[in-house]
C-alpha cells in the first residue's frame, strides 16, 4: 500500500514537473513569430511570384522595402488585419498570399471542403446501396464459389501473413 502511494506521488510529481516545463516552454519570441507569420501572408511584389519572406531574388530591393514597411507597421502597434489592409491598399489584393474569407474569395476555401464531404458522403451511400443489394459473387473459373477467399483467409490465419 505504502509502495503504491509512493509510486502515485512520484507519478503526480513527474506530471506536475512535465506540465510546468511545457508551460514554461510555451513562451517564445512573439515579435519574431508575428513578423514571420505576417511575412508569409504577403507576396513579394518584385515579380518573382514568391512569398515575401522567401523572395530569393538576388539584390531584390522591393522585398527589402516591403519587409521594412511590415516592421514599421508592426512597430506602430497595428493589428494584423490593419497591417494586411495597409499592404492591400498600397499593392492591391494580389499582395496577399492566400484569398481572404470575404466575398467571392470565400468560394476558394469552401469548395475543397464541400468536395471532400460530398465525396465521403457519396462513398458511404454507394457502399450502403451495394450492401443492401447484397453481394454478387459468380463462381470463379479456377475454384469453387468462395473457395478462393476461404483459402486466402485460412492461409492468412495460419501463416499470419
Amino acid at each position: 500500500m505504502r509502495i503504491a502511494r509512493k509510486m502515485y506521488h512520484r507519478w503526480a510529481a513527474g506530471l506536475l514537473l512535465a506540465s510546468a516545463l511545457l508551460l514554461m516552454g510555451a513562451a517564445g519570441d512573439p515579435t519574431g513569430q508575428r513578423f514571420d507569420r505576417l511575412g508569409h501572408n504577403l507576396m513579394c511584389e518584385c515579380g518573382c511570384g514568391q512569398v515575401l519572406l522567401e523572395c530569393n531574388h538576388v539584390g531584390c530591393s522591393t522585398s527589402e522595402q516591403m519587409r521594412q514597411e511590415l516592421k514599421l507597421s508592426m512597430a506602430r502597434g497595428d493589428k494584423d488585419d490593419v497591417v494586411l489592409a495597409g499592404f492591400v491598399a498600397k499593392y492591391g489584393p494580389a499582395v496577399l498570399s492566400a484569398p481572404t474569407t470575404t466575398g467571392f474569395n470565400r468560394v476558394a476555401w469552401i469548395m475543397p471542403v464541400v468536395i471532400f464531404f460530398a465525396a465521403l458522403t457519396a462513398v458511404v451511400l454507394v457502399v450502403r446501396a451495394w450492401k443492401k443489394r447484397g453481394p454478387k459473387d459468380p463462381p470463379d473459373s479456377s475454384a469453387g464459389p468462395g473457395e478462393m477467399d476461404e483459402f486466402r483467409q485460412r492461409a492468412r490465419e495460419e501463416t499470419a501473413l
Binding site: 511570384g49 494580389a94 498570399s97 476558394a108 468536395i115 465525396a119 465521403l120 462513398v123
Partner: protein, 686 residues
C-alpha cells in the same frame, strides 16, 4: 544541319499519320499485313525523331547560332552537359524532347506487340494519334529549327543560370519520362475500352506501365524539389507554384489508380473508376503541360508565354470527347463482378484512399486555377499561395497517412473487430507513446497549428511504420521457422514471393520517412546578417565566423563568396562557402547555396549580396530540421517501386521436397497457387 532536322521532323509526322491511318484501317478490315506496316512505321517514327533531336544537340555543341533556339538557350562558354540540357531548356526543344520520349515509349510498346497483338495494335493507333499532335506542334507551332533572323550573332544568349546545375540536367528528363509515360496506360485503357477487351489482362499490362510512369514522375518531382532547395536559395523545397502543382496532379490520380487497380485485379470491381482514373491522369499530364506553356497562370519557372495554348485546349477537348464517346458506347463492358460488402474492408480502404487522393488533386487544381476564375468573376486577380495549399492539403495528407496505416491490415471483403484489435493495438500504443514523448520533449501542439500537424504527422508515421514492421516481422518469422533460416532471410523471401505487396510497403515506408521530413517545416529558423572579417552570427546550436570573402572570374561567370567557419557547441565542425555568381552571357545573377545536411537538420547558407557601402557580404542562414528525411524517403520510394516491378519468385521453387505438409504449409501452397493462377502478371509472365 537544321534543314536535316526540319526534314526528319516532317518525316516523323508523315510516319505518325501513316501509323494512325493504316493502323486504324487494318483494325477495321482485320488486315494483319497492313497492321504490321503500321507497326513498323511506328518504329520508324522513333528513328526520325531521334535524328531530329540529335541534330538539335549537334547544333548546340557546334555553336550553330543560325538556329534561333540555340542562339536563345546556349553560348560558346557553356559547359558540355548544359549544352546537352539545352535540348529541354526552352519551349521548342522541350516539345521536341517530349516527342522523342513519346516515340521511345511507342517503340517499346510496338516491340512488345507479342504480349497481345490485337490489343497492342489498338494501343498503337492511339499513341500514333498523340504523336501526331505533338509532331504538329513542333512542325508548325514551336519549330525548334527556326532560323535566326538578321545577322547571326557571334555568341548566344546562354542558358538560364537557374538551369545550370547538375540536378537540372536530370530533373526535366525524369519529369517528362513520367508525364509521357502516362500516355502508354492511357493508350492501353482506351484500346481496351474500344475493343471491349475480354478479361483483365489489359489492366495487368496497364498497371505495370503506370507504375513505370509513376516512378519517373515521382523521381522528377523529388529532383525538382531538390533543385529548388539547392538552387533557388529561399530555404524551402516546395512552393506550390503552378508548375509544381502541374506535376503533382497526374501523380495524385496515378497514385489513386495504382491502389484502386488492385480491386479490379483481385475482385473485378471499380472498372469504370479505374478507366477514368487512367484517362484523368493522362488528361492532367497534358493539362499541366498546357498550364506551364500557355501563360494562363503566372509561375516562377514556367516557359515563356506563347501561342501554343489553343492547340492544347483543342487536343484536350478532342481527347475528352473521344474517351466519353467510347465510354458511353461500351460502358456495359465495365460492370463490376462483385459488390462491396463492408465499410471495414480492404476494398473500402482503397475507396477512401482514392477519394482523399482525388480531393487533394481537386484542391491543388482548384487553387491553381482560382486566380484565373477570380479575375474572370470579380475583375481582380488574387494570389493563391502556400498558406492556402497548406491549410487545405495538410489535413487530407494526415487522413491519407491514417489510411496508409489501417488499409493494408484490413482483410478483403470484411474485417472483424477482433482482427482490428489484434493488428492495431500494439502499433497504436507505440504511436501514442511516441506522441506523448514528443510533447514531453517540448513540442507544444497547442501553441501553433503547425506544431499540432507536425506532431500528428510523426505519430501517424510511427503508426504506419509499426504496422508495416509487424507485417514484415510476422511474415519473416513464419518463413524463417519453415526454412530454418534467420528472420532477415525470411523477410527477404517474403518480399521476393510477393514483390508487389512488400514493395508497396517499402514505398509506404518511404512516404512516412518523407512525411517526417515535412513535419520539420514547423520548426524552421532563419536569420540574416552582414558579416565582416571575424564577425559572428548565431543560429540554433551553430555559430558562424566569417574568415574571409573573395571573388573569382571564369569563362562562363564571375563569382563572389564568403568563407565561413562553422562551430557547433564551441567546436569547429566545418567551413562553408556560400556563393553568388554572375553569368556573363545572360547577364543574370544566381546563388550557390552552401548546405550542411545531417539527419537532424540542415544548415543552409545563402550569400544574398554585398552591402554597397562597405562591400561586406550579407549572409542569410536557415536552420531547416529534418530535410534529410525527405530525400531519404524518396530513395525508399524508388527502391520500393523497383521491388514492386520485379517478378515474383515462383512459389513452387521455394517449397521443400515432397513430404507430408502441415496445415499451415498446405494453406501457404494454396495461397501461392491461387495468387499465381489469378494473376499471371504478378508471377512475372507478362
Amino acid at each position: 544541319m537544321p534543314q536535316i532536322g526540319s526534314f526528319t521532323l516532317l518525316l516523323g509526322l508523315a510516319l505518325s499519320v501513316y501509323a494512325f491511318v493504316a493502323g486504324l484501317y487494318a483494325i477495321v478490315r482485320n488486315d494483319d499485313r497492313l497492321s504490321e506496316t503500321a507497326r513498323r512505321a511506328g518504329i520508324a517514327i522513333f528513328l526520325a525523331v531521334t535524328a531530329a533531336s540529335a541534330v538539335l544537340v549537334y547544333s548546340a555543341f557546334t555553336n550553330d547560332f543560325s538556329v534561333a533556339y540555340i542562339r536563345q538557350h546556349s553560348n560558346r562558354a557553356l559547359p558540355g552537359p548544359y549544352k546537352f540540357a539545352a535540348l529541354w531548356s526552352g519551349q521548342e526543344g522541350s516539345l521536341l524532347f517530349w516527342c522523342w520520349l513519346l516515340a521511345a515509349y511507342g517503340l517499346v510498346l510496338r516491340m512488345r506487340h507479342k504480349v497481345d497483338t490485337r490489343l497492342v495494335a489498338h494501343a498503337s493507333v492511339v499513341i500514333s494519334a498523340v504523336q501526331i499532335f505533338f509532331l504538329i506542334l513542333v512542325n508548325f507551332a514551336a519549330h525548334p529549327f527556326a532560323m535566326t533572323t538578321g545577322t547571326i550573332p557571334a555568341d548566344g544568349n546562354g542558358l538560364n543560370p537557374l538551369l545550370q546545375y547538375p540536378e537540372m540536367v536530370i530533373h526535366p528528363p525524369m519529369l517528362y519520362l513520367g508525364y509521357v509515360g502516362m500516355t502508354v496506360p492511357f493508350c492501353f485503357a482506351l484500346a481496351a475500352l474500344i475493343m471491349k477487351y475480354p478479361g483483365e489482362k489489359w489492366i495487368h499490362i496497364t498497371r505495370r506501365w503506370t507504375m513505370v510512369g509513376w516512378l519517373f514522375l515521382t523521381c522528377g518531382i523529388f529532383l525538382g524539389s531538390y533543385w529548388a532547395y539547392k538552387v533557388l536559395g529561399w530555404g524551402g523545397w516546395w512552393g506550390w507554384d503552378p508548375v509544381e502543382n502541374a506535376s503533382l496532379l497526374p501523380w495524385l490520380t496515378g497514385t489513386a489508380f495504382l491502389h484502386s487497380v488492385m480491386m479490379q485485379e483481385k475482385r473485378g470491381m471499380m472498372k469504370v473508376w479505374n478507366m477514368w482514373l487512367i484517362f484523368s491522369t493522362f488528361l492532367l499530364a497534358i493539362f499541366g503541360t498546357f498550364l506551364t506553356r500557355s501563360g494562363v497562370v503566372s509561375s516562377v519557372h514556367a516557359f515563356a508565354e506563347s501561342d501554343i495554348g489553343p492547340y492544347f485546349v483543342y487536343f484536350l477537348a478532342l481527347t475528352f470527347a473521344t474517351c466519353m464517346f467510347f465510354f458511353v458506347r461500351n460502358r456495359k463492358h465495365l460492370e463490376s463482378e462483385h459488390k462491396l460488402e463492408s465499410l471495414v474492408s480492404r476494398e473500402s480502404s482503397f475507396l477512401f484512399n482514392n477519394v482523399l487522393l482525388l480531393v487533394a488533386a481537386f484542391a491543388v487544381l482548384w487553387g491553381t486555377l482560382f486566380p484565373v476564375l477570380s479575375e474572370w468573376v470579380t475583375g481582380h486577380k488574387v494570389t493563391v499561395g502556400p498558406p492556402f495549399f497548406n491549410k487545405v492539403n495538410i489535413p487530407i495528407a494526415l487522413f491519407l497517412l491514417l489510411l496508409t496505416a489501417v488499409g493494408p491490415l484490413l482483410a478483403w471483403r470484411k474485417t472483424s473487430a477482433e482482427s482490428i484489435r489484434k493488428n492495431f493495438l500494439i502499433p497504436a500504443v507505440i504511436a501514442v507513446a511516441v506522441g506523448v514523448g514528443l510533447v514531453v520533449y517540448g513540442i507544444k501542439p497547442w501553441v501553433e497549428i503547425s506544431y499540432f500537424y507536425s506532431l500528428m504527422t510523426v505519430m501517424l508515421s510511427v503508426l504506419v511504420a509499426a504496422t508495416i514492421g509487424s507485417e514484415f516481422i510476422r511474415g519473416g518469422l513464419v518463413i524463417a521457422r519453415h526454412n530454418g533460416s534467420n528472420i532477415f532471410h525470411g523477410m527477404y523471401l517474403l518480399t521476393r514471393r510477393n514483390t508487389r505487396r512488400y514493395g508497396g510497403y517499402v514505398v509506404h515506408l518511404g512516404v512516412i520517412v518523407t512525411m517526417i521530413g515535412f513535419a520539420g517545416v514547423a520548426f524552421y529558423q532563419n536569420t540574416e546578417q552582414e558579416l565582416g572579417f571575424g564577425d559572428k552570427m548565431a543560429i540554433g546550436p551553430y555559430t558562424l565566423i566569417c574568415r574571409s570573402y573573395t571573388q573569382d572570374d571564369k569563362p562562363n561567370y564571375s563569382s563572389e563568396w564568403a568563407i565561413l567557419d562553422i562551430y557547433k557547441n564551441g567546436k569547429q565542425i566545418t567551413t562553408m562557402y556560400p556563393e553568388q555568381r554572375f553569368y556573363k552571357a545572360s547577364g543574370q545573377p544566381a546563388t550557390i547555396v552552401a548546405n550542411r545536411s545531417t539527419i537532424m537538420e540542415d544548415l543552409y547558407l545563402v550569400y544574398t549580396g554585398k552591402n554597397p557601402e562597405n562591400g561586406r557580404p550579407i549572409i542569410k542562414a536557415h536552420l531547416n530540421p529534418l530535410v534529410w528525411w525527405i530525400w531519404a524517403g524518396a530513395h525508399f520510394i524508388l527502391v520500393g517501386t523497383i521491388i514492386a516491378l520485379l517478378p515474383n519468385m515462383q512459389g513452387k521453387n521455394q517449397r521443400p521436397a515432397p513430404r507430408e505438409q502441415s496445415p499451415r504449409e498446405q494453406a501457404r501452397a494454396l495461397l501461392d497457387d491461387a495468387e499465381e493462377s489469378r494473376s499471371p502478371v504478378e508471377a512475372g509472365s507478362d
